[in-house]
């Protein structure tokens, strides 16, 4: 183990679409406990590419119950890691992997009887695919409904798996494809053209109203889609407490409207209390690491939430806050990788 990372062997790779590849990892017996995950959580991969250390969080795309640790990585135009994984990583390679993490998960309850609505787009299917597997396998009284947005049929990740699962589900899984540019001979024909937007959400729920009345809504797509779906759900009076979201991919540009000031931070970490100088424009995480400490962190882009801490005194500016809800922020949670001090003194406490 090195900085929380473990070296895992890639047992197999599988091309899911022309632009997405799955990696299945071998988890040795001694690491099984550390690598136990909940459907929807992610792992962080670390590579050294072009002399630089890079880390990326990827959702685990297999259900935990009897599944093998697997991530599914879709290429991004200029994505350093996503292209490396798609082009270079092969079975037998060793990859550095940090154990599963994340607050976007679904814990199946065999006695529960729920209707789950999943709204996903593109590679947002990866955590959702694990969640659907968990519901079908471990919540026998519950049903799952998925509205899944993609460009065209060829870019639908897990298309055949989803069809097979739907057919074998005895009505418990319903999958509806939303394609923005379907080819004429698109097979199967999409439920509708367009995007997973407000109207799509309302139509989907009206056409497939909940049967089990304990409803849950899971949303995983790009930031813009998530915001639109959440707004659409709130507009029809879905309580916010029933909605869970995670976004991925090209993150909205950071909010650089405030620069941050030089500050002295009191940092409580692992039972110790330290005083850490933070330079103007430096994040709390960067300053803590510069002081030779090892605070938790992973994606360094505000997406994964690994570096989360509580702000006990002072104020910070968050350049990005994808991993936090409004409720988290009102309770004082911050993402240290995105936090620039705007008061000269702060107190920060890691969980």
């Amino acid at each position: 183990m090195d900085g929380g990372f473990h070296r895992l062997r890639v047992a197999a790779t599988r091309a899911e679409t022309e632009r997405a590849t799955s990696l299945v990892f071998e988890v040795p017996e001694g690491l099984r406990e550390a690598f136990r995950w909940k459907a929807g959580q992610h792992v962080t991969l670390r590579f050294h590419l072009g002399g630089e250390e890079v880390r990326r969080p990827y959702s685990i795309s297999a259900k935990p119950e009897g599944g093998r640790l697997r991530v599914t990585v879709k290429r991004h135009e200029s994505g350093l890691v996503s292209n490396h994984v798609n082009d270079r990583v092969a079975a037998g390679d060793v990859v550095e992997v940090m154990p599963p993490f994340g607050g976007f998960y679904l814990d199946p309850d065999p006695r529960a009887r729920r209707t789950y609505y999943f709204f996903g787009a593109g590679s947002g299917i990866t955590p959702v695919f694990a969640m659907i597997g968990s519901v079908l396998g471990s919540e026998p009284h519950s049903v799952a409904r998925l509205a899944y947005g993609n460009v065209d049929a060829g870019s639908v990740i897990f298309r055949e798996d989803l069809t097979r699962m739907e057919e074998g589900s005895d009505g418990r899984l319903l999958v509806r494809h939303v394609l923005s540019s379907p080819s004429r001979a698109s097979s199967p024909a999409p439920w509708r053209r367009g995007r997973v937007d407000a109207r799509c959400v309302a139509d989907f729920i009206n056409e497939h109203p909940p049967y089990a009345q304990d409803t849950r809504y899971y949303v995983c797509g790009p930031g813009g889609m998530n915001a639109a779906v959440r707004r659409a759900l709130l507009d029809i009076d879905v309580p916010d407490t029933r909605i869970r979201m995670e976004s991925y991919g090209p993150v909205e540009p950071p909010d650089d409207s405030l620069a941050g000031v030089a500050a002295e931070a009191t940092v409580r970490l692992g039972g110790a209390t330290l005083t850490v100088p933070v330079a103007a424009g430096q994040t709390v995480l960067a300053a803590t690491r510069a002081a030779d400490e090892t605070p938790p962190f992973s994606c360094e882009s505000g997406v994964c939430g690994a570096c989360r801490a509580m702000l006990r005194r002072g104020r910070v500016h968050l350049r990005a806050r994808m991993a936090l809800t409004d409720a988290d922020i009102s309770r004082g949670a911050i993402l240290t990788c995105q936090a620039l001090p705007i008061t000269p003194r702060l107190t920060v406490e890691y969980d």
Binding site: R113, T215, D237, V238
Partner: protein
């Protein structure tokens, strides 16, 4: 274990006294899932129904997210009933007394003249009290306890003993909705429903299409499960002779007639699906509401099936006795026969000479139901 033949398990007062009735309302009907009608009764956003579940009046309303919410029908101000019977609201629930207004999550959102009438009073955390609600087998269900848990904890075990019907795909037959006020205690009505012994006798002229010698029945948890096959001559050509289009495959034809606790009977047959909802009104009065679903096929399919089967049924159904049509025992209507038998039993309970006789193998369910009621009332 009680003596299997020991009758009575419940004393006469259990069927006649107000004290027993009140205890049952409190300890049985206020603590179990109550049927609030069929799913289609609340099918559009804003629609609501209210239902009595023991001592609790509860309303169910559908939000624009098409999810059902259930609340105790009591304003948090002075306790006034908020919504009446059935109807349609918008996004708010307004108490008629002082116009206190709640949203569909039950939160108090508006109080008239609030600053002047309630200075310094925190009204922000006042909410309607929630109840549990769910859909199961095409019916609406409520439980007075917000934390009642999954409805499958209550019905999961008996579900495999019910019919193979796809209840949600059937359509209600409006003329099949009937209400009957029966001058008898609710338990007499339930006991009649689960008594397999009387079928071949009281209903000798009306229920002969089923083979009562092959009944399979018994309690599964608090619920009574019951199945019997078709009589051989009816089974032989059921596709032709069924009075309505079949709702299950012919090879599975039969009747599943469970009595779910407390007092929610189903009659799931080869051609119909019915709810037989027993509502206690007073110690000696019960209202039974019957709702019926049939195959969701065009009217002409019913007309054709009726024409095909007419000759078969003309020979099969008759009254138990000869007589006028207004005599229930000559009516050829099994419901009228059952009501007659129940009301006669209730009357006899008042006689000083009344004494329970021995009870049969076919009445085992009756004894077990009495035992069950006793446990709930004493518990």
């Amino acid at each position: 274990m009680a003596d299997r033949r020991g009758m009575p398990i419940l004393p006469v007062e259990a069927y006649t006294s107000r004290a027993w009735f009140d205890r049952e309302q409190e300890r049985i009907f206020s603590r179990t899932w109550a049927c609030a009608g069929l799913a289609e009764d609340v099918a559009e956003p804003g629609q609501y129904v209210s239902v009595q579940a023991g001592l609790n009046n509860i309303f169910i309303v559908m939000g624009r997210d098409r999810r059902l919410r259930a609340f105790h029908n009591i304003c948090r101000h002075r306790g006034t009933q908020l919504l009446r019977a059935v109807g349609k609201t918008q996004r708010a629930i307004v108490c008629p007394y002082h116009d206190w207004t709640y949203d569909l999550e039950g939160r108090l959102v508006s109080v008239p003249d609030r600053e002047r009438q309630f200075p310094g009073v925190d009204l922000d955390c006042v909410s309607l009290k929630k109840a549990s609600v769910d859909l199961w087998r095409g019916m609406l269900w409520v439980h007075p306890d917000e934390n009642a848990g999954s409805i499958m904890d209550w019905f999961g075990e008996v579900e495999p003993h019910l019919g193979p019907h796809e209840v949600d795909e059937l359509a209600e037959y409006p003329k099949g909705r009937t209400e009957h006020t029966i001058e008898a205690n609710w338990k007499i009505v339930v006991e009649n429903y689960i008594d397999g012994y009387h079928l071949a006798h009281l209903h000798s002229g009306t229920l002969g299409m089923y083979d009562h010698s092959r009944i399979e029945s018994g309690f599964v948890g608090p619920h009574f499960a019951f199945w019997e096959p078709l009589a051989p001559d009816y089974a032989k050509d059921v596709e032709k002779n069924s009075p309505y289009p079949l709702v299950i495959p012919a090879e599975q034809a039969g009747a599943w007639v469970p009595m779910l606790f407390p007092g929610i009977g189903l009659a799931e047959t080869e051609s119909t699906w019915s709810l037989f909802h027993v509502n206690p009104i007073s110690p000696d009065r019960t209202r039974v509401v019957i709702r019926t679903r049939v195959a969701a096929v065009p009217y002409r399919a019913f007309a054709r099936q009726a024409a095909r089967s007419r000759r078969f049924w003309a020979r099969r159904v008759s009254g138990k006795f000869e007589g006028h049509g207004d005599d229930p025992m000559a009516s050829g209507d099994f419901m009228a026969e059952d009501i007659y038998a129940c009301e006669q039993q209730q009357r006899s309970l008042r006689s000083p000479y009344f004494e329970h006789g021995p009870s049969s193998e076919g009445e085992a369910g009756v004894r077990e139901h009495q035992e069950l009621v006793r446990r709930w009332v004493e518990g």
